[in-house]
């Protein structure tokens, strides 16, 4: 932390709300371009020394994520139901946001992901639309993200990958036993496995140490600084300029506007729950696919009675999330999957939708072991295993090192009825409305997941698994969802979208939103690379606009 602190009475050139995957990138871009930036982050400012290999703290308790005791979430399947408290969504809540505790999968979108409607036509019950941008518009920013943050992978290894202007800056991570078994079986079946692109350093990079294969990536902060979160990559660069203040423990409750309908800054609670107004010339909201629409809906005024930037009525609508479907296999010899990063191999053979399957959707499948010890004994055993007693013990002790998983990441179709809204009754610890989630999967999403699970079993059997199993899919059991997309969708038409092709709101000229909320479609999950490419692109545009005087 370089510790520059600006007086809260001075207007910042840019105020960034949320220091996560997108906010960190935006802050770095703006500060290095010469602007004065204040970043408000809900969560604390933690460093490598604050993390530990503690399964209870980070997977049972909300070590690095939203705490439902402080910020309750309510959930209902449809508008007809009454919403009940349930941790339906989960997001990173510290400087670095979700990029601190994510598994670090880093997939670019395919070219087709931006034009699904044109390529495949309408899907009944869903609002499938093209993005206002194409892959080529984002390609330079994907490349920039991969190189500034530090991504390991093998260019050209995925035959379905969209064209790229540069290879990954770092070679792939060492393959695990799950990757070897998956690769052998997939090749036998005529599929095309490739090394997983991940935001983890396979070699020392830009002053940061390489990964030591400790195995605690998913849900954990990296003690080595080898996971390429914004916390250890771009945020230090932003702070080094002396023009960027990261202000942690600041919980924003409203974006203020003036009589002309322009954003003037934000009101937040500091760590002592004092209300402070931070003025700014331009505001970027990078608070994630749930917190961003929530903040806009809370920022009502006479001029914006339905919430800020919501003339379309679409703020909070079209929530999409991390649909999947998984299967596990038991093998004869030890895999020791607790060592090393989670994912080392995957396939995109089933990525494209295929009308012959009888439903719309597709996905990627990765090989991993998604469990830490207690989680495996509690939730990872075959459905026919006893839940206590000597046989229970025998199974979890002998299976732990010999089990692997295949996990699909599949389409989540945009439906207007799936929403983030303000709960009319439940309040959080600050007295603000709780986030209310209304969500149910599209029938095609469920069909996609089930189909993927049959493919996973097929691959595990081809790999020589002694036993395979999977859990039946249910939307409630699958919670909490972590990839929150679609709730302030991007588009050309202000009547049917919230932000334009540069993540600038149609309604408020000096208000940008950039995070998963921009997504028009979910592609096949793994949104982080695209969130960060959008953030680089939006910042690039905003810098140009500010220099032209377009924002003032």
């Amino acid at each position: 932390m370089s510790g520059v602190a600006f007086p809260t009475t001075d207007a910042a050139d840019f105020l960034v709300l949320g220091a996560g995957a997108a906010g960190g990138v935006v802050a770095k871009e703006l500060a290095t371009a010469g602007f004065r930036v204040v970043v408000l982050e809900q969560g604390p400012y933690l460093r490598e020394r604050d993390y530990s290999h503690d399964e209870i703290k980070y997977t049972i308790q909300p070590g690095l994520t939203n705490d439902p005791k402080l910020q309750p979430i309510t959930y209902r399947k449809s508008e007809a139901d009454s919403a009940q408290p349930m941790k339906a969504i989960e997001y990173g809540r510290q400087v670095g946001g979700g990029s601190v505790h994510f598994t670090a999968n880093y997939w670019r979108f395919h070219e087709s992901d931006f034009h699904e409607r044109s390529l495949f036509g309408a899907v009944s019950g869903a609002d499938l639309r093209d993005w206002p941008i194409a892959y080529a518009d984002l390609e330079p920013y994907y490349t920039k993200a991969e190189h500034e943050l530090g991504i390991s992978g093998l260019a050209g290894a995925n035959p379905f990958e969209a064209p790229r202007s540069m290879p990954y800056p770092l070679p792939p991570m060492p393959v695990k036993s799950s990757g070897v078994l998956f690769e052998r079986a997939a090749k036998k079946l005529g599929l095309h496995p490739f090394p997983a692109p991940v935001a983890i350093l396979s070699e020392p990079y830009q002053g940061r140490a390489a990964c030591v294969n400790c195995g605690f990536c998913e849900s954990f902060g990296c003690e080595m600084g080898a996971k390429s979160s914004t916390l250890v990559s771009v945020i230090p660069l932003a702070e080094k300029t002396g023009r960027c203040e990261i202000r942690p423990d600041c919980y924003v409750r409203k974006i203020e506007t003036d009589d002309a309908g322009r954003a003037t800054g934000a009101i937040y609670f500091d760590r002592n729950r004092r209300e402070i107004f931070q003025p700014a010339r331009t505001v970027f909201v990078c608070a994630n696919g749930a917190e961003t629409p929530k903040l806009l809906l809370m920022s009502k005024s006479k001029r914006f009675p339905e919430g800020l930037a919501n003339s379309s009525g679409l703020v909070g609508k079209y929530l999409m999330w991390d649909n999947g479907g998984e299967a596990q296999g038991l093998f004869e010899h030890p895999l020791n999957e607790y060592k090393g990063i989670q994912v080392t191999r995957l396939i995109h053979d089933y990525y494209a939708a295929d009308p012959k399957r009888g439903f719309y959707g597709g996905g990627g499948i990765d090989a991993r072991f998604d469990f830490y010890p207690a989680g495996f004994a509690l939730h990872g055993l075959p459905p026919d295993a006893p839940r206590w007693g000597s046989e229970f013990k025998r199974i979890f002790t002998t299976y732990f090192n010999r089990t692997m998983m295949l996990m699909a990441h599949t389409t989540s179709l945009a439906q207007a009825k799936n929403t983030v809204s303000l709960d009319p009754e439940v309040k959080d610890a600050w007295g603000l409305p709780a986030i209310r989630i209304t969500f149910d999967c599209h029938p095609d999403d469920v069909a996609t997941m089930k189909w993927m699970m049959t493919k996973e079993i097929e691959i595990l059997e081809a790999a020589g698994a002694l036993k395979t199993w999977s859990q039946p899919y249910d939307v409630v059991d699958n919670m909490p969802s972590r990839h929150l997309m679609g709730t302030c969708r991007m588009g050309k038409d202000p009547g049917t979208s919230v932000v334009n092709a540069y993540s600038r709101t149609h309604d408020v000229p000096n208000l940008f939103l950039v995070d998963g909320s921009n997504f028009v479609t979910s592609a096949r999950q793994q949104p982080t690379a695209t969130i960060q490419a959008l953030a680089y692109r939006a910042a690039d545009y905003a810098i140009g606009a500010a220099k032209r005087g377009d924002l003032s």
């Binding site: 530990s52 695990k176 294969n213 080595m224 010899h333 206590w388 090192n401």
Partner: protein, 171 residues
């Protein structure tokens, strides 16, 4: 750069803290703890190697109920009261769960295995067996030893049998 000295010193402290903890209860009284431990011992028995008892699961539960699981105290009180009632119905001459035979304890568990209380106790027993020793359970890394974890802070490939095969082919 790599924060190795810091990481190692933090881990060292965690180990020392876990090792020096003397067995005593913070929340539970001895008798109540003994009854809970009898059930935990059936959830992860000592067959084929150390189980919940040897791992000190009861000390984990005791500490959990005064810290992150303090909200669950009532569930334990009510759950155990109902279990004692069922014990009296099923084994009228018995005085405690702990003094029942293993077979009798298992019969008792079968009567409550679908309850929320049992799921909570099962969860806590597993966390106390396989969670970080700093929480009072998993003494001497008993649970981790049972599932075959080396518990080092860094590993070098090959990690498992199958990636070692590929490594062998390359050489």
């Amino acid at each position: 750069m790599a924060a190795w000295p810091e990481v190692l010193s933090a881990l060292q402290q965690a180990h020392t803290a876990a090792g020096s903890a003397t067995p005593h209860f913070e929340t539970l009284d001895e008798d109540f703890a003994g009854e809970i431990e009898a059930i935990a011992t059936q959830i992860i028995p000592s067959t084929g190697g150390p189980g919940a008892r040897e791992a000190g699961v009861i000390y984990f539960i005791d500490r959990a109920l005064s810290t992150f699981a303090a909200d669950n105290r009532e569930t334990y009180r009510n759950g155990m009261a109902q279990l004692q009632q069922k014990r009296q119905e099923l084994f009228p001459n018995s005085t405690t769960i702990g003094s029942l035979t293993g077979e009798q304890q298992m019969a008792l568990i079968r009567m409550i295995e679908a309850s929320n209380f049992f799921e909570l106790l099962r969860t806590h027993t597993v966390l106390g067996f396989l969670g970080n020793p700093s929480y009072g359970g998993n003494r001497g890394e008993t649970g981790w030893n049972q599932i075959g974890i080396e518990n080092l802070t860094a590993y070098q490939p090959p990690f498992g049998y199958y990636d070692a095969q590929v490594d062998g082919e390359k050489k």
